[in-house]
């Protein structure tokens, strides 16, 4: 019996169309637009101006607080302008637009492919360097990685959990990273262990990726303290709290962080970025993303430079299919539909999903039939049908006491609802309002 989390969960069709496609390198575009806010927290402050020459890996926007992240140039060339351009949700955000000229990297970056196993940096140096390299959680939430590694006083980390679950249907970028960069991921894991001062790490992988489990298990024998934990396929196992529940059977109290139970969770892509930052001195300016969809010619995985247009990735995979109804940034469960393909891909872009028209339509919402399915699938033990009504009626006090803030926005409730009610839409709205009220109280 494989492990999984204790409460709720669903199992949508996996559709991992691109699982067998090796990671390809996307050609460098002619211009890149690098948004200054690609992470949770304060936007970075641009430190370059028009006509400045930049190299690959050069710092172009500086972190503007503890919860913020540095932004580096992903190409070499000239800064064309610093201007507002449209982001994935259609709002205009400040971005640095660079005209590409050649591909000249910073001299400090080690471009060789050799595996460097020995970790020479000290604990403090590692955290400092991770912050400098602008590494954020690459699972999609883009929380700055150094913040999680700075354990608050009074708390101790006992175990590092590497999130290699990739529970979102369709997405396969983490899967390919594990198969192709297994050693790098494991060294990255050991670097993170050293940074936290723990001697145990668990890599949680769902059993729909048996090749990745076998590959990493064979490699992990050479790495002390790293354990591979196969998990039953169940959405949303990639949620931090669900993964902790699945791997070490600990429940995080409401309103607290994983460090409360001695755990720190990092994504497998983050582990690779950490390896590259510490051993190769390479800041985060490229990542792997999946481009997929049932009618797409060539569902595949690509390593791209941050700031490349979504359009370029779609073209590389065979162009936009005729019957596309919706383009989703991220996976089908938690991803957001894009308003246009002329938007830059960022640190948080784990994939693009092209849904055919008939699959993209939202079914008509009908009255709640009180079947309670949403309650049984909620991984946080909430009552989504009730939260939706409370959010609609603006009952913010009750929303708060009914723990709306515990919602992880996984969308299991909306997925399972037989009446097609837009449960998560309303809950997310209520969560936003309650969050505002709670912050104003402080």
């Amino acid at each position: 019996m494989l492990k999984t989390f204790s409460l709720g969960g669903i199992h949508p069709a996996e559709n991992k169309l691109s699982a067998s496609s090796a990671i390809q390198v996307l050609p460098i575009p002619e211009t890149v637009s690098i948004p200054i806010s690609q992470h949770i927290g304060a936007p970075a402050t641009p430190i370059v101006k028009k006509n400045d020459e930049v190299k690959v890996g050069q710092l172009i926007a500086k972190s503007s607080g503890f919860v913020s992240a540095n932004i580096h140039s992903s190409v070499s060339g000239t800064v064309f302008k610093v201007d507002e351009i449209m982001d994935a949700s259609g709002f205009r955000r400040t971005s640095i637009i660079i005209k590409v000229n050649g591909d000249e990297w910073m001299e400090t970056i080690d471009r060789s492919a050799d595996l460097v196993k020995e970790i020479s940096a000290s604990k403090e140096e590692i955290v400092k360097k991770i912050a400098e390299a602008g590494i954020v959680g690459l699972g999609g939430a883009t929380f700055p990685a150094h913040v999680k590694l700075s354990v608050p006083p009074g708390k101790t980390a006992e175990v590092l959990i590497i999130n290699a679950v990739e529970c979102e249907p369709y997405l396969t970028s983490d899967h390919r990273v594990m198969l192709e960069k297994g050693d790098e991921v494991l060294v990255g894991t050991q670097i993170l262990m050293k940074a936290l001062g723990v001697n145990k790490a668990i890599i949680g992988i769902e059993n729909n990726k048996p090749d990745a489990i076998a590959h990493l298990t064979s490699l992990a024998a050479n790495y002390q303290g790293v354990e591979i934990c196969p998990l039953k396929t169940q959405y949303p196992q990639g949620g931090e709290k669900q993964l902790i529940s699945a791997t070490i059977k600990r429940e995080i109290p409401s309103g607290t962080l994983p460090i409360e139970v001695g755990a720190v969770v990092q994504n497998v892509g983050t582990a690779l970025a950490v390896y590259e930052a510490i051993q190769k001195n390479k800041p985060l300016f490229e990542r792997v993303a999946t481009i997929t969809g049932k009618s797409l010619k060539n569902p595949s995985n690509w390593k791209f430079r941050i700031g490349t247009q979504a359009k370029d990735l779609i073209d590389a995979a065979g162009g936009l299919p005729e019957d596309t109804g919706k383009i989703v940034g991220g996976g089908p469960m938690m991803g957001k539909a894009l308003t246009t393909v002329d938007i830059p891909l960022t640190k948080g872009s784990s994939g693009l999903l092209l849904l055919p028209r008939e699959e993209a339509v939202r079914k008509e919402s009908k009255p709640c039939i009180r079947c309670g399915k949403c309650i049984s699938v909620c991984p946080m033990g909430l009552e989504p049908f009730l939260l939706m009504v409370l959010a609609d009626k603006k009952e913010y006090d009750r929303l708060e006491s009914d723990a709306v803030m515990d919602c992880i926005e996984c969308g299991s409730c909306s997925f399972t609802c037989p009446a097609n009610r837009p449960l998560l839409d309303y809950i997310r709205l209520g969560k936003g309002k309650v969050g505002q009220i709670m912050r104003s109280r402080k």
């Binding site: 949700s89 709002f91 308003t339 839409d425 709205l429």
Partner: protein
């Protein structure tokens, strides 16, 4: 027989004792309430809309009775007549407050502002606004899902199917502000109704630079500043590429309407201008359906002097 007599006497005795106790208790715990509160409440329209800023007419009546100066307090539903009635009850003199009316500051009709994507989520403006910028290239404009219409308690609004924008029926609008609060993009504003309902306002809330705004919507304010220069009364300010007309300073001279290159400044309920109207068609503007007569007049007025100054879009 005697049992009945004893029962009646005993019940009478209990009744009298209870009455005496209740009399003294009522004396002891008497709550004094100003009788004028009831009178004022009677005078208020009992719409309980909250437009005055108080939760319902009763609360407003209490506040009126307790206030020393009621000149700043106004019942938007009842207007001057109700407030002067209240004033006579409370012995205050009431100066006529300028009546206000809700104004939709967006003219992004389907024609003026083409759709770039399609929204099929929950039908609520607040939810749409929390997710993304909306179905068009303008991130500030009307989302068209009609949350303001749902909020209106006076049937004074409806969604125009053709334009996709809300329309305010100004005869019914009591300016309670419910729609203003409901709109997540702050498009609706309460503005002075003006003499004979004549008003001038910038029908746009787009803060983007000229080129970007114009690309998203043909009738957007591009922040060129022509109206600011033209205005003889300093009533127009330009902040973040967006002009705003201060209705307290505006003298309704309509000079700004003529110079606006994108027709973003609207005039309502004015008689037609004296100049010869040209044949050039103009974009359909949204107007409240007050009297059909004035509507026809404004239709004509809008046709006057269409300045075709497309080049100015890039001068920001």
């Amino acid at each position: 027989m005697s049992i009945i007599v004893i029962t009646i006497l005993a019940l009478c005795a209990i009744g009298v004792t209870a009455a005496i106790i209740l009399f003294f208790v009522a004396q002891k715990f008497k709550v004094y309430e100003d009788p004028r509160i009831d009178e004022v409440e009677e005078a208020l329209p009992a719409a309980n809309c909250g437009g005055c800023g108080y939760p319902g007419c009763r609360a407003f009546a209490e506040a009126l009775v307790n206030a020393d100066d009621i000149s700043k307090m106004n019942c938007p539903v009842g207007g001057v007549s109700v407030m002067s009635q209240v004033g006579s009850i409370l012995g205050h003199e009431i100066k006529a407050a300028e009546p206000t009316v809700a104004v939709v500051r967006c003219n992004g009709t389907c024609e003026n502002r083409p759709k770039t994507n399609q929204y099929d989520g929950a039908a609520s403006c607040t939810i749409a606004a929390s997710l993304y910028s909306g179905e068009t290239g303008c991130q500030y404009g009307c989302l068209g899902l009609g949350e303001c219409v749902d909020a209106c308690n006076f049937d004074a609004m409806y969604m125009d199917k053709e334009t996709g924008l809300p329309v305010i029926i100004e005869d019914k609008c009591v300016s309670c502000g419910a729609c203003v609060k409901a709109c997540p993009n702050n498009i609706i504003e309460l503005r002075k109704k003006g003499p004979k309902s004549r008003r001038i306002f910038v029908s746009c809330v787009n803060k983007d630079k000229g080129g970007v705004a114009k690309k998203a919507c043909g009738v957007a304010c591009i922040g060129c500043g022509k109206c600011v220069k033209e205005c003889p009364f300093d009533a127009i300010t330009l902040v973040n590429n967006l002009a705003y007309i201060d209705y307290n300073k505006c003298k309704l001279c309509r000079k700004c309407v003529i110079v606006c290159p994108t027709k973003a400044i609207h005039e309502l309920n004015f008689p037609p201008r004296k100049e010869k109207p040209t044949d050039k068609p103009t974009a359909k503007t949204v107007k409240p359906v007050a009297a059909p007569k004035t509507e026809a007049k404004t239709e004509e007025a809008a046709k006057v002097e269409p300045t075709t100054n497309e080049e100015t879009t890039e001068n920001k």
